[in-house]
């Protein structure tokens, strides 16, 4: 842009004194640095406008400029320190005002801390907590496990998932959150566990449930069968004449309780017939007592 004061004020060479003043006022109001506290170009623009007006606003200087006796920068003023240079530089000045945000400080911790800092107290703020979700296997939740997790920002977390945690439970890892400010404590990492379902086991509180298929022979005659539990296989006795739906308890084979001890495991028996067994068909065909047995007698009486 030209330094020519006529161009700066955007007026014609033959503008009247009034037009010059009007042009100056219009531009000065727009570009005054104190009315544009955050605009770095405002000071430069205002200086050019003021410089131009210094020449053109004074009939004598204007005549000298028109005659070419002084140039556009011929009348530079000493550097003007604007109010914004002081008001924006520090908070400790007497005109500082919090009226523009005071109402937000009650609800916003960060702003409250900043305000406290501005009034002289040193600024310390505990780091923010990190919130994480961690999927773990059913058996990891029941038996406990060590976990190594690398966060997106590269932070590595090593921690123990204690035995007996449940789905949705939150593990607090002290000091593993965001770093604190001003030497304050870091926040915590809060890890919410998502326990994936198991193919066989179901969890009810501290107890574990399992559906166990047994053979017709085992159901009728009883016997000892192997049962999977979260801690390995155990042998269980099936009493004679065990029906589908019968529930057997394995004491202490459930989940570790927070207060100590273990829950129980409940095994629901399911009698499974052999497929396509002609011998069984022959036997049942001639089994008079079986033909007479009506397990729905109660249902029929009710209905």
């Amino acid at each position: 842009m030209s330094d020519n004061p006529y161009d700066v004020l955007a007026i014609k060479r033959d503008a009247s004194a009034e037009e010059i003043q009007r042009a100056f006022r219009k531009l000065a109001k727009k570009h005054h640095p104190d009315l544009n506290p955050g605009d770095p170009r405002a000071a430069e623009a205002f200086k050019r406008i003021s410089g131009a007006y210094d020449i053109l606003g004074d009939p004598e200087k204007r005549a000298r400029f028109d005659r070419g006796e002084i140039d556009a920068s011929g009348t530079e003023k000493p550097p003007h320190r604007f109010y914004r240079d002081f008001a924006d530089a520090s908070d400790g000045h007497p005109y500082a005002s919090a009226a523009g945000f005071e109402d937000m400080t009650g609800t916003d911790d960060l702003l409250s801390e900043l305000l406290r800092r501005r009034t002289g107290t040193s600024f310390r703020m505990r780091g923010a907590d990190r919130h994480l979700r961690l999927p773990i296997d059913f058996l990891e939740a029941v038996n406990g496990t060590n976990k190594h997790v690398v966060l997106p920002d590269g932070t590595a977390l090593d921690f123990v998932v204690p035995a007996g945690v449940s789905d949705g439970q939150i593990l607090g890892l002290a000091g593993k959150g965001e770093p604190g400010l001003g030497g304050a404590q870091p926040g915590d990492a809060l890890v919410q566990l998502e326990v994936r379902p198991h193919r066989l086991f179901r969890r009810e509180g501290d107890d574990i449930r399992l559906d166990l298929p047994i053979s017709l022979t085992e159901a009728v005659l009883g016997g000892r069968v192997e049962v999977p539990t979260p801690t390995g296989r155990v042998t269980m006795s099936i009493p004679k004449g065990s029906n589908t739906g019968k529930v057997l308890r394995l004491r202490g084979k459930g989940v570790l309780r927070p207060q100590g001890g273990h829950g129980d495991m409940y095994v629901t028996l399911q009698v499974v017939l052999p497929e396509n067994d002609p011998d069984l068909e022959t036997f049942v065909t001639h089994w008079q007592r079986g033909l007479a047995h009506n397990p729905r007698r109660d249902l029929e009486r009710e209905a």
């Binding site: 006022r25 005054h32 003007h80 908070d91 005109y95 005002s97 945000f101 702003l111 400010l181």
Partner: protein, 93 residues
């Protein structure tokens, strides 16, 4: 600086300074002693008051409103700056 020095550097009379302080635009101690010290920020604020009143034609009520809003803008800017600095400091760690 003294009140006299302040007035002469701004090119105003002592009555004008009196008016500005009674309007609350400038904060001075009220003892009225001529040795009361004014600082550079008062001078710059005075310069702004002169620009608003003499050059922009803002009336007294308007000047008060503008000064008040400007001080709020500076307060907001300073808080905003600190918020940005704290979040930058957090991002670095």
């Amino acid at each position: 600086m003294t009140r006299e020095e302040f007035c002469s550097r701004l090119g105003i009379g002592s009555a004008t300074l009196q008016l500005w302080t009674s309007e609350g635009w400038l904060l001075l101690d009220d003892t009225g002693s001529s040795s009361a010290s004014l600082s550079e920020i008062d001078l710059a604020r005075g310069q702004l008051i002169r620009h608003l009143g003499d050059e922009f034609g803002v009336n007294a009520d308007g000047i008060g409103i503008i000064l008040d809003l400007l001080d709020q803008v500076h307060g907001l800017r300073s808080v905003l700056r600190e918020v940005l600095q704290s979040s930058a400091a957090r991002a670095e760690r």
